[in-house]
Symmetry: C2
Subunit: 220 residues, 2 copies
DNA sequence: GACTACCTAGAGTATATACTCTAATAATAG
DNA sequence: CTATTATTAGAGTATATACTCTAGGTAGTC
């Protein structure tokens, strides 16, 4: 593998594992057993590395969120979109963690991420549209559907932070893909009241698959 | 005012304004025109300052989220809780911004914040309970209500990050309390399907007060 | 006035961080 | 083989950061 790609891969791994804030360019170089000079030969600075990683993330999610408009959507479609989005979130999980700082430090990233968010929101809207066409959910006025889509996005992008901060034992802050996908349970919770009677049962069954095994204490 | 209190106040102000990551203890001292030694006389380190600020935040929110259990809750109660929570979020807005790093760096904070989250979730649950008693929302099974409460929490705590990252112009990332309170619109969106017919109209009217004036583009 | 507890200044330091520079080595093209 | 280009090592640096240390001031009390 090319050194440049190794740098991107290892950076992503280290960022995910230990947080972007805790990983310096010197750490990355040491991890790869290359010199700092070598790293800076391939990337002008740390921001550039992060930006390139974002471009990969963006490409992955955009790929999965191509919503067919020529046919209605099924519950299976919805399940696929949810699985895919959470897989993407998992692979690039460092990103949402320090998002605000990253966007403050890089104008390109700021601009691209905003466009990315809008595409995601549009895709969620389209999914709801397709599900309504497929008779899975009841059609809703545009305004309500948009606000619901935004709530779905907020739940998806905040679920991981919730897990890391509120969940888990006092010592371990480790996170598993299984836990992360319990976010699907939360997203499906949002949809329940809008399901058509015919699809209530299958969607509830799908939801059940993601139910947390040991729900955290929610009562004081 | 005592120097110690001035440090806390200025730190909060600087953290909110420019992000905890961008503010060093030397910045704080310089801002107050005191010496670093003086600052370190009052606080052992930066984490201690942040922890003290958290304690204030915690106290404020706990104060507002004392839910009466001896009477049903009204729409006005709900509006008050929402306003209060978003006011708190605004006053200590730096906190949720770099939450994960802060909790990773301070065990006390990690422990206390987790307990705080659980208290908040319990309060949201109680509010839903009280609203059901008051006939505002339809009573729901415990499981669904808990999952809904969690979604409310996720929307509330992620709304600000959404504004900062996805909203606003490319250059300005400034945030206003008015914008922040548009999060109430999103929270009320979650409640719509659970409202009793009698309360649909008044809650929709309340929601309308927080509708964003210039909604961002949500369609590609 | 002198004792004491509290408070403050400000220079200083060890370490980390992002990044640079030069020289050398590999790869490739003609 | 040679010239050129791409890649790498590794020492080095300017700046920042969190924090320390010493000496001295201030306020209250007897």
């Amino acid at each position: 593998m090319k050194t440049r790609d190794k740098i991107l891969l290892s950076s992503l791994e280290l960022f995910n594992e230990r947080g972007e804030r805790n990983i310096t360019t010197n750490h990355i170089a040491a991890y790869l057993a290359i010199s700092p000079g070598n790293l800076y030969y391939h990337f002008r600075n740390k921001s550039d590395i992060i930006y390139e990683i974002f471009l990969e993330y963006e490409k992955l999610v955009d790929y999965y969120l191509q919503i067919p408009t020529d046919r209605p959507l099924t519950v299976d479609d919805m399940a696929f979109y949810l699985e895919s989005v959470f897989d993407g979130l998992w692979s690039y999980r460092f990103f949402h963690r320090e998002l605000e700082f990253l966007l403050d430090s890089d104008q390109r990233l700021r601009r691209d991420y905003r466009a990315f968010t809008n595409r995601c929101l549009a895709a969620i809207n389209q999914i709801f549209d397709g599900l309504a066409e497929g008779g899975v959910i009841q059609p809703q006025p545009e305004e309500l559907r948009s606000a619901m889509s935004l709530n779905v996005w907020l739940v998806i992008t905040n679920w991981m932070a919730f897990l890391k901060t509120a969940h888990g034992s006092e010592l371990s802050n480790n996170l598993s893909l299984v836990q992360l996908k319990q976010g699907i349970y939360q997203v499906l919770t949002l949809e329940i009241p809008y399901l058509t009677p015919a699809y209530l049962e299958p969607v509830m069954a799908l939801r059940e698959k993601y139910r947390p095994e040991l729900p955290e204490a929610r009562v004081a």
